[in-house]
């Protein structure tokens, strides 16, 4: 039986749904853009997935929040970008399927090793030059090392998708964090390297211009806070407490 979720104040209204479905169309075209990007050696190695829906986006956002507490340096990035994963209309994930297992072999030396791809082979479980992709255990968020040139290639794919977004006048931004979380959840499961692109069709492009502490102070939370303030028409009690103030910076 499918899961039935009911909330008493859903942010997904019928008009919202229509708008979001248009964004899904844009995402489909962006995926085509990604597939036609300049390709190294003309080898097929791009994988994409379009994720759309309250539950799915919430799941990815929660995974990002979980990852936030595994890292210290970029914790705030995971946290505020998780809000964006919830807020955007649709998520497009683009991954590269060869970066971890089939390095370019072009004598380039762009990764940390010698120009014979030995760095990738030596640091992976492999037999007869075939890297064992079934060993997915990793101490780090991404199981490295990856082929650096193919990572660069994924940039071309993502760039082309974003270029399509600008042609279609939808707001789009690439996110490292969304890609990391989605890959853990099994999206783009053949890829070791995934980038998430948040696509939105709203008057304010929040991902391009986030406020400080965005995971706390954002539009959704702001609306909710106003709804929740039962005293909004009368005198507000305990105004010296900063959580009672509209603007904590004006405290005192």
């Amino acid at each position: 039986m499918p899961r039935i979720t009911i909330r008493d104040w859903p942010p997904y209204s019928p008009t919202d749904q229509e708008r979001r479905e248009n964004a899904v169309m844009a995402a489909r075209l962006m995926m085509n853009g990604a597939l036609t990007a300049p390709s190294i050696g003309g080898i097929a190695m791009t994988e994409g997935e379009i994720v759309y829906g309250e539950e799915e986006q919430e799941q990815i956002a929660r995974k990002m929040e979980e990852l936030a507490y595994e890292t210290e340096a970029q914790r705030h990035v995971f946290l505020y970008e998780a809000v964006m994963a919830r807020g955007v209309d649709v998520l497009l994930f683009i991954g590269n399927t060869r970066a971890d297992s089939d390095p370019w072999n072009g004598e380039c030396g762009l990764c940390a090793g010698r120009p014979d791809c030995s760095f990738v082979y030596e640091n992976k479980k492999q037999s007869t030059g075939l890297i064992d992709k079934t060993d997915r255990r990793s101490e780090t968020m991404v199981k490295g090392p990856l082929c650096a040139v193919y990572a660069h290639q994924l940039g071309y794919n993502v760039g082309s998708a974003l270029m399509v977004a600008t042609h279609l006048y939808v707001d789009a931004r690439p996110f490292i964090t969304m890609g990391l979380a989605a890959q853990k959840l099994g999206y783009c499961r053949n890829s070791s390297l995934v980038i998430g692109i948040g696509i939105a069709t709203r008057p304010k492009n929040e991902p391009s211009d986030p406020a400080l502490d965005y995971h706390l102070i954002n539009l959704e939370r702001g609306i909710d806070a106003i709804r929740g303030n039962v005293n909004q028409l009368g005198v507000r009690p305990a105004t010296s407490q900063d959580y009672r103030l509209g603007d904590p910076s004006k405290k005192g």
Partner: protein, 769 residues
């Protein structure tokens, strides 16, 4: 009506499109925000070098190494090329490092101090700067002004204080021996920071015989006569100069050079003129010649050389630079009861270092801002008539010019007036060098060479009064170009810091009980005012070891991308950064015999890829054909285009004569990306027959052993291939690319490649016949 020249118009149009493409790359969305995209647009004439360089490599390598170098033909002869490069390595160039005129790796030594490795930190500083202990005391710290902790959060890291503790803890670091003498002789005129720095590198690294000629009785230039002892103790200065003397540099004191020709006749091959700016600028107001009005530089010289400068009870200094502030502080130490500085602009425009101003104010020096003296008369002592000013429109260098406010005049009385409004070079007339309008020397900006062959110039004599570290930067640049002039490669960087071991995550915060706390920038411990004014003891006492360890924890580590994701193959960004530094600090960052430089940060590379794609896509928006070519970027890298980039991608625009796509008869039929088989080298990509048959199953049929010695992973097999003709030829091809690229660099006056080291490294990889 002019005849329509299709080719010329097409060229012009394509150049415009190339600029659009460049704009698109700059506006591409970012992932980390830490990748700087660099671009260059080249047209037909500028491309000739490329074909020469690539031709050299192709002669040796096109057939041998197969498709990689063939790709260079991809770009054919297009009308316009857009080069896009980026530094996508894990070690992000932090703003502090970018702001340093000599490029000291600031995050690296802060990290080493945080690990308690003070000696290694000192070595990192000394790799770029021979006068490091002096720098740690008197530098104006442009790094701190750009520190992201300061610009984003609260206060910048106390970088100068951290450098000081490292230099105090390890005043000497182990260093490679002096190079063998080349037989060339260099004369350096002036023993200031520029002259000493150039002498150090020319003697020690390049191996030329160096003689410094100093007009004064003691060496050091402005460091000796202009900087008081309370900021730069003389034992520190003497020790650094002694170190340079110890290399075999001769310093001839009390020797004023009046003619360069005479020096050449004495057998010097090159002269480096670093005479500094030792003549005080005059104000040109009434009463400037009265008894009791002295110029700031003479006053400081008398104070610093112990010649008994005389100062009245009420002293005033006119000016806003370090000389003015130091004159005021010195006046207080020489018996003045009060010292005032008159400055015609406001605090923000003062050229003196902030710490110097703060310490002066703490010692009781009063500063009258927005005040211009208009005349000096005898009266109650010396009566200085002044007028208030306001800040007006910006001048040529962007500082607001002071505008007098009519009717706002007043008079102040003093016993001694010290004028320190600036200095110019004191150029002997017989030098015969061409000068700028301000009296400074005219030089070629790229090479610091003057109008006279074999004469180079740098430091304050060229720039006008500037900072210590800028003079050192000029000395480094001069040393490099003088060495090239004398036939060397001009490579002066040293390797002093040892390779770092991969450390545990720094435990400073826990050890010091600072976990979870957010420390503030520590105040610098200073002598008390009474102690300071009682003599010339050094006022700044330096941070304690504990305070400096805590201070390192405030560093935001903007030199790391910081996701610690593991995609590059290292567990943390820190490990990747250390790996890169260990790899590259020996070579100055040049790659050894392969196409691009690694290691790379996966996300920065991807960000760079987005920018490249946007550039190529922008061309298509203009209905212009474009493609993306990676391999030809290597030749451009060797030729010195887009320095500091670890990869260059070429976007050719417009129709090419060569075929771009893999058509029959294009000469590229053999380019089949999968499976790819080369002479002597199989398994570029995992061939299908292994997958179908399973490893080893049909070996006997193919005449192969089924034992492990052959059936090893491809990287090992590549090593085996290095044993045969193919491997060595590839190395020859790579070296040819380096040599041809270096020739172009030499022609274009760009930094050279260290071909000797490169050859050594490549030869070491060769197998013996």
């Amino acid at each position: 009506m002019p005849k329509y020249d299709g080719n010329a118009y097409a060229q012009e149009g394509l150049l415009q499109v190339a600029q659009h493409c460049a704009q698109a790359a700059l506006h591409a969305p970012q992932l980390t925000g830490k990748t700087e995209i660099k671009m260059e647009i080249l047209t037909d004439k500028e491309l000739e070098d490329f074909f020469t360089v690539q031709g050299e490599a192709n002669k040796r390598g096109a057939i041998l190494s197969g498709e990689t170098y063939k790709a260079a033909y991809d770009i054919g002869q297009p009308p316009v090329l857009l080069l896009i490069g980026a530094d996508a390595m894990p070690d992000v160039k932090a703003p502090c490092r970018a702001a340093c005129p000599v490029g000291i790796d600031v995050p690296r030594y802060i990290r080493l101090i945080g690990d308690g490795k003070f000696d290694q930190a000192a070595a990192v500083v000394r790799e770029k700067l021979p006068l490091a202990s002096i720098c740690a005391r008197i530098c104006h710290a442009p790094c701190e002004k750009k520190c992201r902790r300061g610009t984003l959060r609260d206060q910048p890291i106390a970088i100068l204080a951290l450098k000081r503790i490292a230099m105090d803890a390890a005043p000497e670091v182990p260093s490679p021996p002096v190079s063998k003498t080349t037989g060339k002789r260099v004369a350096v005129i002036g023993s200031g920071p520029a002259g000493l720095t150039a002498a150090y590198y020319l003697r020690k690294v390049c191996g030329h015989a160096v003689t410094i000629f100093e007009a004064s009785s003691e060496p050091g230039g402005m460091l000796r006569v202009g900087v008081p002892k309370y900021r730069l103790p003389r034992e520190v200065l003497d020790k650094e100069i002694g170190m340079i003397k110890g290399l075999g540099v001769e310093i001839k004191l009390n020797t004023k050079i009046e003619s360069l020709d005479k020096l050449f006749k004495q057998g010097y091959d090159v002269i480096f003129t670093a005479i500094g700016a030792h003549r005080s600028v005059r104000m040109g107001i009434e009463g400037e010649n009265l008894l009791g009005v002295i110029d700031g530089l003479s006053f400081l010289r008398d104070v610093n050389l112990g010649k008994g400068a005389k100062v009245g009870k009420r002293a005033v200094v006119i000016g806003g630079g370090n000389a003015a502030v130091d004159a005021a502080r010195a006046a207080l130490r020489m018996g003045a009861k009060e010292a005032t500085i008159l400055y015609r602009r406001s605090m923000a425009q003062m050229r003196a270092h902030k710490a110097n101003i703060e310490q002066a104010q703490r010692e009781g020096v009063k500063i009258e801002f927005l005040t211009t003296p208009t005349s000096i008369k005898k009266g109650d002592g010396l009566e200085v008539k002044c007028i208030r000013t306001k800040l007006g429109s910006p001048d040529a260098i962007g500082r607001p010019s002071p505008e007098p406010i009519e009717g706002n005049e007043f008079t102040l009385s003093f016993d001694t007036v010290i004028v320190a409004i600036g200095q110019t070079p004191d150029m002997p007339p017989d030098f015969g060098l061409s000068l700028e309008d301000g009296g400074t020397l005219q030089v070629d900006d790229a090479t610091l060479s003057t109008n006279m062959r074999g004469v180079f110039a740098g430091g304050d004599a060229v720039s006008g009064p500037a900072s210590f570290i800028e003079a050192v930067a000029a000395g480094r640049k001069a040393a490099s170009w003088i060495d090239q002039y004398l036939g060397g490669f001009g490579i002066i960087d040293e390797v002093l810091a040892p390779s770092e071991e991969m450390p545990e995550i720094s435990r400073v915060q826990e050890v010091l009980g600072m976990a979870g706390k957010d420390p503030k920038r520590p105040p610098l411990p200073l002598l008390t005012t009474e102690q300071a004014l009682s003599g010339f003891a050094e006022v700044d006492l330096g941070l304690s070891e504990k305070a400096s360890l805590i201070e390192t924890t405030r560093c935001l580590k903007c030199n790391e991308v910081g996701f610690n994701c593991g995609a590059c193959g290292f567990k943390t960004c820190r490990e990747a950064v250390i790996f890169q530094q260990n790899q590259f600090h020996e070579t100055g960052g040049e790659p050894w015999g392969w196409l691009m430089k690694g290691p790379s940060c996966i996300w920065r590379l991807m960000e760079y890829g987005i920018a490249v794609d946007w550039a190529a896509a922008a061309a298509h928006r203009h209905n212009i054909e474009s493609r993306v070519a990676m391999i030809p970027g290597t030749a451009f890298m060797r030729m010195g285009h887009l320095p500091d980039c670890n990869m260059i991608v070429v976007v050719p625009l417009g129709p090419c004569k060569e075929r771009w796509y893999f058509e029959p008869s294009s000469g590229r039929e053999d380019f089949r990306p999968f499976p790819m088989v080369r002479k002597g080298q199989m398994l570029q990509y995992s061939p299908l027959w292994i997958r179908f048959t399973g490893p080893g199953r049909d070996f006997p049929r193919r005449g192969m052993k089924t034992k492990d010695e052959w059936w090893k992973p491809p990287y090992e097999r590549l090593e085996i291939i290095n044993d045969d003709e193919w491997g060595n030829s590839v190395l020859d091809r790579d070296y040819a690319l380096f040599v041809a690229g270096d020739k172009v660099r030499q022609k274009n006056k760009l930094s050279r490649l260290n071909l000797i080291k490169i050859k050594e490294k490549l030869d070491a990889k060769k197998s013996s016949p």
